[in-house]
């Protein structure tokens, strides 16, 4: 008997993985993917079975560990936000080259509109680039069902499978009907061990095999994508993942109340191809193009499908979507922009209220980063040339008023390496501000570079003992940051730990002044627990 649960898309994937006989989840926190791993961490069956669910240092270590699980014949899940794919890319592309033994599913959670990200890259490009099949659920129920399908497919084809979701799938709840949990797969070594040694002689053979597998993946995808016929062939619709929902939303009576003519009554008026499985079903698209005057591509993220559709059709074919302007080139799909793309007029709402002003996010009251930026701003008044290279985390909010304390935020770990480069080129003082979790994610190797060239930089590791931005997950280096810095070769005399509180401003300023003048690598660690994780303990 199936149980009905109200689950986030993320949670549906997590439960789908547990019930598919998962052995471990490997991940670094990142919005909107974090809740997948958290759900597994707290699930009773996952605990009873002792499934691995501890956070990893970064997405690359996560994917490699999961590949190790796969090597011994067991099932592993890897979860990350879209930019995590950049960090894991080396492992991801080469995991397709080795192939997998136990099922390996990589969830990439994209964030179009950049609700909590620095870009809106589309992970489907990585899937195509690596010759990895992609599943993109259009509902939370499919997210649950497709996770198990993805593990089966991964084992059947012998390659990793990507599950691609976007923010609105990850962070929307719906009722999901869930079944019973399967047993975990037993340990079973690879039948072709040489596949895993990517020396050129093996890699060349594996590459041919991977390309052949991709053809089989395309055949499978063609059999799985839904084709619906409709009487109005002026337009055929290709809707990907949750894009399908926004299309269907407008073919209900209520949605059409303001339409010039109430043409739709709950039935799909146009031929529709719903893409939930990639590689793209090229033949189905060619057939639709032959039958319909024009094709409309509705996809969340970048025009990944639209570009390919244009490539497989004769140049006379009319293709509408993000590239042709029917949908916006940037930002996520919404019921509003899909409605416009379908040629329906806007629904009538009230005009915006002129009294309303923006309310941007800000550092919490009582947060240690606030004290750090206050003292940094004070001291840097004496150094008008100073630049502060910062990083990804809550402390990025230090860019906003009233602080305006940082000059950069690029990618995980870039604060230290950019400060190094600027110092190498003659900037003084050159300062890096990085969080504890970001430091262990991707800052340590950069610090080693700085030590090796004795770059005159001051690295501030603002340690709140957690991964705060994503909701307070464990941080990989907690309690060991000084030892890590020493181990990387930073002179212990220039590793200073302070407590960022208003009462300590004088002391911190003195240390800061001394270290800014040091002609080598200094590390200052302001350490005070995140106010949010602290509150939860009260």
């Amino acid at each position: 008997m199936n149980e009905k649960l109200l689950l986030l898309g993320d949670e549906a994937i997590a439960l789908g993985a547990i019930n598919a006989g998962l052995t471990g989840v490997y991940a670094y926190p990142g919005t909107p993917s974090t809740e997948i791993t958290e759900y597994i961490q707290h699930h009773p069956l996952a605990r009873e079975r002792g499934l691995h669910s501890r956070w990893c240092a970064n997405e690359k270590t996560a994917l490699e560990a999961a590949l190790g699980v796969s090597y011994i014949g067991k099932r592993a899940l890897v979860c990350m936000k879209h930019v995590g794919m950049n960090v894991a890319a080396d492992a991801f592309v080469n995991a397709a080259m080795t192939g997998v033994n136990g099922g390996l599913v990589v969830v990439a959670a994209d964030d179009p509109s950049m609700h909590s990200s620095q870009n809106e890259q589309d992970s489907r490009f990585y899937g195509k680039f690596a010759f990895v099949p992609i599943l993109e659920p259009s509902s939370q129920q499919e997210a649950y069902d497709m996770t198990s399908e993805a593990f089966d497919l991964s084992e059947r084809l012998g390659v990793p499978v990507m599950m691609r979701i976007t923010t609105r799938m990850a962070h929307s709840r719906a009722i999901v009907s869930v079944g019973a949990a399967s047993e975990q797969t037993p340990m079973r070594m690879p039948s072709s061990p040489a596949d895993w040694i990517l020396l050129p002689v093996n890699a060349r053979r594996r590459y041919l095999s991977l390309l052949e597998t991709y053809d089989r993946a395309a055949e499978y995808a063609s059999s799985r994508n839904l084709c619906v016929d409709g009487p109005d062939r002026s337009t055929g619709i290709i809707a990907c993942g949750i894009g399908y929902n926004y299309v269907m939303e407008h073919f209900t009576d209520d949605a059409c109340r303001d339409a010039p003519q109430p043409r739709f009554s709950g039935a799909m008026p146009h031929p529709l191809l719903r893409i939930t499985h990639y590689p793209l079903p090229v033949e189905a698209i060619r057939r639709m193009a032959a039958e319909c005057g024009r094709l409309l591509v509705v996809e969340d993220g970048q025009p990944f499908v639209e570009e390919q559709v244009r490539g497989v059709l004769p140049s006379a074919a009319v293709v509408a979507g993000r590239l042709s302007g029917e949908l916006p080139r940037v930002g996520e799909l919404t019921p509003d922009n899909v409605r416009a793309a379908l040629g329906l007029g806007p629904l009538q709402g009230a005009g915006p209220c002129p009294l309303v002003v923006p309310r941007p996010p800000a550092l919490c009251a009582g947060c240690g980063h606030r004290d750090l930026y206050n003292v940094l701003n004070e001291e840097l008044r004496n150094y008008p040339e100073a630049k502060v290279f910062s990083d990804i985390g809550c402390y990025t909010l230090g860019a906003l008023p009233p602080f305006r304390a940082i000059d950069s935020c690029v990618d995980m770990g870039a604060s230290i390496t950019m400060a190094k480069g600027a110092a190498d080129g003659g900037l003084h003082p050159s300062i890096a501000v990085i969080g504890d979790s970001t430091f262990t994610h991707s800052g340590m190797t950069g610090l080693l570079d700085a030590v090796n060239s004795n770059s005159p930089i001051t690295v501030v590791i603002s340690d709140n003992l957690t991964t705060a931005m994503t909701g307070g997950q464990d941080s990989a280096g907690t309690g060991r940051l000084e030892a890590i810095c020493q181990g990387l070769g930073v002179d212990p005399a220039h590793i200073c730990v302070v407590v960022p509180l208003p009462a300590n401003m004088g002391q911190i300023r003195e240390i800061l002044r001394r270290e800014l003048d040091h002609q080598g690598v200094s590390v200052i660690i302001p350490r005070r627990e995140c106010i949010q994780t602290l509150k939860r303990k009260l």
Binding site: R173, E249, R359, C394, M469
Partner: protein, 191 residues
């Protein structure tokens, strides 16, 4: 039955808890639900909203589009007005009249309240005050839900059951405090 609600407020005020309680009540009524949440950077003291869709038919979109919402339920008066373009012409607002001021340029309070009262069918409550008077000062969100319950069209008993289920893991005292807050909100609502 079809109800599209935008829940609004400031990160940390507890709009998701309101959504969860309404969701529980709708689930018990055998209705379909979709609820789009906000996580991540926007939670840090910025404006947040969540779309809650309830229907006895299929719900497709996870998001509520402009002109689609039947109701806006907001823990702050200005945040209620932010979502006017999403409200149907006959849609209604339930708002906490006590402002959450964490920005230097928060608009004139009286002007906001006048604007809300001017709109037909607005439900207003000083959720902070009624929750405090009910001995549940941390339950402004549930007090606001109590006020909104007057117009929601879901059985009040199901909302009470929802509160019991959602807060059960925090113990009987917390459950009781929230039930008191919800009732105080219902009684303190100005329509």
């Amino acid at each position: 039955m079809k109800l599209d609600i935008i829940l609004a407020g400031v990160g940390g005020q507890g709009i998701l808890t309101i959504a969860t309680v309404i969701g529980e009540a709708a689930l018990a009524e055998g209705l379909d639900i979709k609820q789009a949440e906000v996580h991540g950077m926007s939670q840090r003291g910025g404006d947040v909203h969540s779309g809650l869709r309830i229907s006895d038919g299929t719900i497709w979109s996870d998001l509520i589009g402009r002109g689609m919402a039947d109701a806006v339920i907001s823990l702050d008066p200005m945040e209620a007005l932010r979502y006017l373009p999403w409200l149907k012409p006959d849609g209604w607002i339930a708002a906490n009249s006590a402002p959450f001021k964490n920005i230097p340029n928060y608009p004139d309070e009286q002007a906001l309240l006048d604007e809300l009262r001017r709109r037909h069918g607005t439900v207003m409550v000083d959720a902070d005050a009624v929750a405090r008077e009910a001995g549940a000062s941390r339950s402004s969100n549930i007090a606001l839900l109590g006020a909104a319950s007057v117009r929601l069209g879901l059985p009040y008993g199901q909302l009470e059951e929802g509160v019991r289920r959602v807060f059960a893991h925090k113990g009987a005292a917390v459950v009781e405090a929230n039930l008191r807050a919800m009732n105080a909100g219902k009684n303190g609502a100005h329509i």
